[in-house]
Symmetry: C2
Subunit: 373 residues, 2 copies
Amino acid sequence: MSDNDGGKAAAVPHAGMKHVPRQASRQPSIKDIARLARVSHPTVSRALQNSPLVNAETAAKIRKIAEDSGYRASAVARGLVTRHTRTIGLVVTTVDDPFASEVTCGIEEIANDHRYAVILANSHADPERERRVVQELAERRVDGIIVTSSRVGALYLPLLKELEVPIVLVNDQYPGEFVHSVMIANRDGTRAATEHLIELGHRRIAYLGDRGGYQSDAERLAGYKEALAAAGIDFAPELAAEGDGRPEAAIEAMDALLQLHHSPTAVCCYNDMTALGAMRAIRARGLRVPEDVSVTGFDDLFFAAYLTPTLTTVRQPMRRMGQMAMENLFKLMSGQTSGQASGQDSVVQIKVAAELIVRGSTGKAQKHEGNHA
Amino acid sequence: MSDNDGGKAAAVPHAGMKHVPRQASRQPSIKDIARLARVSHPTVSRALQNSPLVNAETAAKIRKIAEDSGYRASAVARGLVTRHTRTIGLVVTTVDDPFASEVTCGIEEIANDHRYAVILANSHADPERERRVVQELAERRVDGIIVTSSRVGALYLPLLKELEVPIVLVNDQYPGEFVHSVMIANRDGTRAATEHLIELGHRRIAYLGDRGGYQSDAERLAGYKEALAAAGIDFAPELAAEGDGRPEAAIEAMDALLQLHHSPTAVCCYNDMTALGAMRAIRARGLRVPEDVSVTGFDDLFFAAYLTPTLTTVRQPMRRMGQMAMENLFKLMSGQTSGQASGQDSVVQIKVAAELIVRGSTGKAQKHEGNHA
DNA sequence: TTGTAGGCGTTATCAA
DNA sequence: TTGATAACGCCTACAA
């Protein structure tokens, strides 16, 4: 008998049982069930997978026994032999960022539908840490990885090649054969927001960005510049400020803008969190939004419609983008297991449309405020 | 040779290689490394674990080879033999709830410090689904589970007994030997908030709760009632309304309160999201906060200090609570592996203090508004 | 200090 | 329809 425990399964702890309170008794294994049902373990395996090649009666009997004994097949053991874990890794800067948590929700939703588990890892926007967590995910043999707002960029390529795990990036991209992505139309978004401000008569418009060095920020800044250029307004470097994507830093940056000799009458923010800080800084100086300064955000987080005034912003379908990333990843994963060349020539880069939502934080420029310094 | 692949490791795919683009070549295994280093695989295992029982030179050589070949030990295989996965399961109602994401952050932080991975699962506040995801976590052989805002309550007990996995609940508790918890002092929190309103002269104070049936809500309602009773104010059932913990539902509920013949001059909300909706509803009727109606929240989410007016609320150290839950779980897990009776008589129920943060959304009651209907 | 042997709990591949 | 038997990749004795 090559059995591991010779019969002292959870159910029947005979032998040397002294008075051990609650022996950390193993969960029942497939062999325990097999013994109870008087069949071989492969049969149990088949029965539990509803294989047609097993007698209906014995299958029912087996399932009953398994049920009664609280048997739960070990995904660990299964993963070892099947070579896939039904697990994906998700790397976000930090989940307490509303953008990340919305995307995460979309991902989890689709993953869960397919009975995949999601391992969550925070990179804290630290490239080094990001690399480390990706490595750890690889050790855990995740079937795929999604990374949002990556900071690593080019550093990925060699790692990816090595990992041989499909990866999808959200709101970042890297021009390589291994990297697929889902991105919002950043440039279109801020261009639309800036055009809207221009239409309202603003000429002195600031851009309050993110110093994190994200591709998103570069693109949004570009969209802002495009709109200015199209309207014949010179880009004023002193009007391009930087926060870190969170309200606190935005306050400082906005305050500095307001202290400029010829301060802006409108500000196009990198995202809604930044806009939150900008609005606060504006009010702190006794100015009003939008009468004195108009503000636009980006993301359309849940609170945007609840602020006073409500926030004009560029909507990003975050949850949907998460879903798309996950669906995309599933495609890649199935393509890979089916022995296909892992989508070398089918790099998918999905671009999602951005939508300007006009609300109360933007208004007409004051007449008396000029257009040149 | 009992080797699995007879030498055709990732490095040397000889034999029948036709023109297969990129053979899904296995990641190198410990045996591959052993062969390359001309030692046995246990030696490799030891070297990689920095075991002192291996010659320093050979260890170095082995590590170099492992490094060069991109070897990453399989956590799956390791988990199978060590019987623990260095993985914990986290069940939240939904990660896009700011409270949940803050808690999640704290958990992930501590887990990551210990090189544990976190599997994220959303219950969507559905007891059935909650049970299902917990089962799945068990199949994946997580070493522990944390559940926030559980809806299952009593249903857990039998399941837990069966699972034999340590569990920690956040903001819910169940009086059983298997369930440990970290909770905020709900009752103290709303009592303090309500007392604050009473001190401001309010007598007609509403409570805007959560119909989800959470223990938190019951406790917060109790705290509100306590404060009223202490001040000799009768509890008016018509002033106890219910939302669902999100702004939209709160708008409706608040609006109904405002339509009461003798409407409230202040409202104590279940949480900040609810307060967000309440404030909007108040404004929608042309009333002002706090001049006409004062509002208090609960949680102190990031946006509370950025609203206009800023929100008076009960602070809950969410991230810290997540950390505590995780630290607690680690204690339970180590106690278990060390062969202890899994903490039967050491059920830990941590109660965290709530702190009232007074800001701008609460003000003195108007003189002309009476105190009885 | 190193190697041999065995087992962790599954699924897969054969025969029977 | 079922049962032996062999992996999967690692770790842990125990032996050398």
